[in-house]
């Protein structure tokens, strides 16, 4: 596709109107002078139009789902319905303070309660909390619940180990570490958990096994019932990473597969917008074993009234201020209502159909590891390009020139030069065919062109090594650098 991104030579916001005055603000009566600012905050004073123009121009130098196919594997970049945006901005939703009396927020509590019920059914787990702000936050909270459970059982001293497959998302081992566990990787065999290796590793030291299914190779772990049984047999618990739930909505669920606790990402499966990095909303689902440990407050219904219940003696307490990301929960509720029973299942069917279609076509362009039937995403390997001196990174950058976002690259690490591609249910056959054609053109392009990519964006290939070696992380850094060197630095934002 012929495409050129806007290329504004836009100065940094502070260069639009360099701050003049450093006079301190008027003192606050009653405030001791030594606590008061001696200099005003250094920041520009701009007209509203100047601000709007600045950030509008910046927005034009950014890909979103609304502009581009966004095939990031494990990120489930699907269309974010506009109706959810409109609903979340209702004054009766946005202008609610979390510390209002319960009687004045019955509608908000009702939405949270009803969404919890829907998600409990989707996950097959008995209770759901919406307090976590994101998936990784849910992982951390769930592992604290696992910890509390084993403490109550008197087994915490022994059960210090979390097992996870070598294909696990990076957040899994990081969350386990934050929750005070050590981690041990279970090798994969043909892209799935090596059951024999798991059986050999699981022991009375195992607190839990963390798994995403379908996994990051896009494969359904078909031995899932054997996996969960193997861990349960040794007294361990099962954690379900719901990042990839999109592929199995209405087909199977974590409860059915034998998991004790799960997180979901509403910003993936339930289409809340990802905001350029966040906000997300992490759902925490727990079976009967761990439900008493969920964060407080729990939302309960008594007669026709909804209440916040803090009387959960085993609860881990709070993991975030207030009740979770209500603005996102409301969007997800609208999404679930609109889809209903058949619609949610259709999501799984269509996303898996899209994925297999694209995988079959692209499997003739680049090699695909492992078996051919995949779920929500699939892997390609860029290794054949190496002979031409081209790497997966070059291919990713070249795809940007086609007006599509690049897939997730170099993950999972068990595949050399990996590209991980996810094309959710909202992408049409026409979008898929265009994406496939874009990959074909990119692969067929000359090494010189691939190395020179991207050429159609606001900037060319970025020197990320330099960013890390000589970190410039703020305007303050830019100022001190400018003060050190006489000549204008290449990173100066002056036009």
């Amino acid at each position: 596709m012929s495409f050129r991104q806007a290329r504004w030579d836009e100065p940094a916001v502070w260069d639009l109107a360099p701050p003049q005055s450093v006079d301190p603000p008027a003192p606050i009566p009653g405030m001791p002078a030594r606590l008061c600012r001696k200099e005003a905050v250094r920041w520009p004073e701009l007209s509203e139009l100047a601000v709007i123009r600045h950030y509008t121009r910046l927005s034009q130098m950014n890909f979103g789902i609304d502009t581009s196919v966004y095939p990031l594997g494990s990120c489930t970049m699907k269309y974010n319905p506009k109706v959810s945006e409109a609903l979340a901005r209702r004054r009766h939703a946005a202008e609610l303070h979390p510390y209002q009396p319960e009687s004045t927020v019955q509608g908000a509590l009702e939405i949270l309660w009803k969404l919890e019920r829907i998600l409990a059914k989707v996950t097959g787990l008995s209770e759901v909390s919406l307090q976590a702000a994101a998936g990784a936050h849910g992982e951390f909270a769930a592992l604290l619940m696992v910890r509390a459970y084993f403490r109550d059982k008197g087994e915490l001293d022994r059960r210090t180990e979390v097992l996870l497959p070598d294909t696990a998302h990076g957040t899994n081992p990081a969350s386990a570490m934050m929750a005070g566990f050590t981690t041990r990787e279970i090798p994969s065999k043909d892209g799935c958990v090596d059951l024999a290796a798991l059986r050999a590793a699981v022991s009375d030291r195992t607190a839990c096994f963390m798994l995403t299914n379908p996994n990051t190779a896009g494969l359904f772990e078909s031995e899932i019932l054997e996996i969960t049984a193997a861990v349960h047999d040794k007294g361990g618990l099962l954690y379900y990473d719901g990042a990839n739930l999109n592929a199995i909505l209405g087909i199977t669920n974590p409860g059915r597969m034998g998991f004790d606790v799960a997180h979901l990402n509403l910003h993936k499966t339930f289409a809340t917008p990802h905001g350029g990095g966040g906000p997300g909303a992490g759902v925490l689902g727990a079976g009967e074993t761990l439900a008493p440990y969920l964060p407080v407050p729990r939302i309960v219904k008594r007669g026709r009234k909804y209440r916040l219940d803090y009387d959960r003696p085993k609860s881990i307490g709070k993991i975030k201020a207030a009740h979770g990301n209500f603005g996102l929960d409301l969007r997800a509720y609208a999404f679930a209502l609109a889809h209903g029973e058949a619609g949610l299942k259709h999501i799984a069917q269509r996303s898996v159909l899209n994925s297999n279609y694209a995988a079959a076509k692209l499997g003739t362009v680049l090699p695909r590891p492992f078996r051919s039937l995949v779920k929500h995403e699939f892997l390609l390997s860029g290794t054949p390009l190496k002979a031409r001196g081209v790497r997966t990174l070059d291919l990713a950058k070249r795809l940007l020139d086609e007006g599509v976002h690049a897939p997730t690259i170099y993950f999972p690490s068990l595949v050399d030069e990996a590209l991980m591609i996810e094309l959710p249910e909202t992408e049409s056959k026409r979008d898929l065919d265009e994406f496939i054609a874009a990959v074909e053109r990119a692969v067929a392009d000359t090494p010189a062109a691939l190395h020179a990519a991207p050429r159609s964006l606001a900037v060319g290939r970025i020197d990320e090594v330099r960013a890390a070696r000589d970190p410039i992380l703020s305007w303050k850094d830019l100022r001190s650098k400018a003060a050190k060197v006489e000549a204008p630095s290449p990173v100066s934002s002056a036009p």
Binding site: V13, P25, L35, R37, R42, E45, E48, T56, S59, F63, I65, C75, P81, V83, R91, A94, E95, L96, P98, Y99, T104, H137, E139, G170, T171, P173, S175, M177, M178, A179, G180, I224, H274, G278, P279, I316, A321, H323, N325, G327, Y333, A334, G340, G343, R350, V352, N356, L373, T408, E425, K429, P454, L457, R461, E464, A467, L473, S474, W475, S493
Partner: protein, 460 residues
């Protein structure tokens, strides 16, 4: 809602034909029969108009803050957000983007985040800031973990006046590595930190960090903050600060803070029943490689033009896995954008003027509530900006606030930990003078309070 899944005539059949399958069931033969589920058990799908009607019906059961005289605060603000902020947040190039893993395609968000980081550096007096964390409370939790990475010890000190929710979050972040969160008593007259307690705790050599908040959990500004660094020495010092307060107060970097965190929601973001919020996090440069979360750095492209990218990623979970500084992946980028757009639309003078006007309203409220028998307002004798604590000498905080609500006043929130068995320090309420309250509403607050307490002048 059919139209969100493309259904051009025969489209799915064509996809299946290309795969040589006749039914979608063939796509799921790898899911063992025993693991299959039956029906989900939720209703049928609905048209968009029906969804809107249903959700509006439920939302109508809410009474939003604008229907009231609103005195609610405590890190979460109801203040007016200029329409310009939402206009920028509604640019779908921003809000439908993912984390900027491909920097060349994401310069807009990366540059916005760089400006956001720069603003928090200016406000906090730190050297570096990250691109956001979940909220102020979890930013405190991450600060605690950073302190432990840079200093030995088992004990982390926090004010006893810290909101109970934040203490609970901190205790959770501390629990993994087996660390202890310990409360610093406060002076019963001023609510300020007991500095002698801090001195003796630090002398025992087991303290790896201290967090103090400004304003504190009682709404007051504690002059003792300025003494802490001298007491702490090389023990890391975290300040949790309100960003609006920092437009008129000294930046914590100037009195020795090593980390400055905060809740950024009041800058451009509606309260939305408490989420999403915005965690602010900055620290000194020497600790940046121990810091959590995404960080945007300035660099150049192949032609030497200014360009921005996520940097120092070897700290992060997707590279370092179990040795990462944090598990955080998704943060609050869009809210970070709101923060910098809000601050720039209002401008530094406007922000300081706003804080000054809130402080003036709070003084009027304190004057109106002073000398009501049965009420201590403010409870503590210390400077304040827009909030302070009141204490009932009779009656419960819940009954009092319920009474105010019947008179169309959201009068604040109880400070007590609502969990059964939690220690209570009396019927205390945090009251905030918000930007929307009028002089008349302040007088009405006082009148209704007299009425509740059976004090003279209470007829409404």
């Amino acid at each position: 809602m059919e139209r969100w899944i493309p259904d051009e005539a025969g489209e799915e059949a064509a996809l299946r034909a290309a795969l040589g399958i006749s039914s979608n069931d063939e796509l799921f033969v790898d899911v063992p029969k025993k693991a299959r589920m039956g029906r989900i058990g939720i209703g049928a799908g609905r048209e968009e108009a029906e969804v809107v009607a249903e959700i509006d019906k439920i939302l109508d059961r809410n009474r939003p803050t604008y229907r009231y005289a609103t005195f609610l605060g405590g890190r979460i603000s109801t203040r007016y957000q200029p329409a310009a902020v939402d206009a920028i947040l509604s640019r779908s190039e921003f809000y439908t983007a993912y984390t900027p893993y491909q920097p060349e395609a994401s310069q807009g968000m990366l540059r916005s985040l760089f400006e956001f980081q720069s603003l928090w550096v200016e406000l906090s007096g730190m050297d570096v800031a990250n691109a956001s964390l979940y909220d102020g409370a979890t930013a405190g939790g991450e600060a605690l973990l950073l302190c432990r990475r840079i200093h030995e010890g088992r004990r982390f000190l926090v004010p006893a006046s810290l909101p109970w929710e934040e203490k609970s979050v901190l205790a959770n972040y501390a629990s993994g590595p087996g660390l202890r969160v310990e409360e610093i008593p406060y002076d019963p007259r001023t609510g300020g930190l007991d500095l002698d307690f801090v001195r003796s705790a630090v002398a025992q050599k087991d303290v790896f960090g201290l967090l103090a908040d400004v304003p504190n959990g009682f709404g007051h500004v504690d002059e003792g903050l300025l003494e802490l660094k001298a007491i702490l020495g090389d023990v890391p010092f975290v300040v949790s600060a309100d960003p609006l307060a920092l437009t008129v107060l000294e930046p914590p970097g100037s009195y020795g803070a090593d980390v400055v965190v905060g809740e950024g929601q009041g800058f451009g973001i509606a309260p939305s029943f408490g989420g999403p919020l915005l965690g602010l996090f900055g620290c000194r440069k020497e600790h940046v490689r121990a810091a959590p979360g995404r960080i945007v750095g300035a660099t150049v492209d192949v032609e030497g033009r200014p360009a921005y990218a996520l940097t120092l990623q070897t700290r992060e979970q997707h590279i370092r896995r179990s040795r990462a500084t944090s598990n955080i992946c998704t943060n609050e980028s869009l809210l970070a954008l709101a923060f910098v757009v809000y601050a720039t639309v209002v401008g530094p003078r406007g922000l300081a003027a706003l804080q000054a006007s809130l402080a003036e309203k709070a003084r009027k409220l304190a004057t109106a509530l002073a000398d009501i028998p049965g009420l201590k307002a403010p409870r503590f004798d210390a400077p304040y900006l827009g909030e302070f604590t009141i204490e009932l000498e009779k009656g419960s905080a819940h009954a009092f606030l319920g009474h105010l609500e019947e008179h169309h006043i959201l009068g604040g929130h109880p400070l007590a930990d609502p969990r059964p068995g939690a220690a209570s320090a009396g019927e205390r309420i945090l009251v905030a003078a918000t930007d929307s309250v009028t002089d008349r509403q302040i007088q009405k607050y006082a009148t209704v309070t007299r009425d509740f307490l059976g004090a003279p002048g209470g007829a409404v």
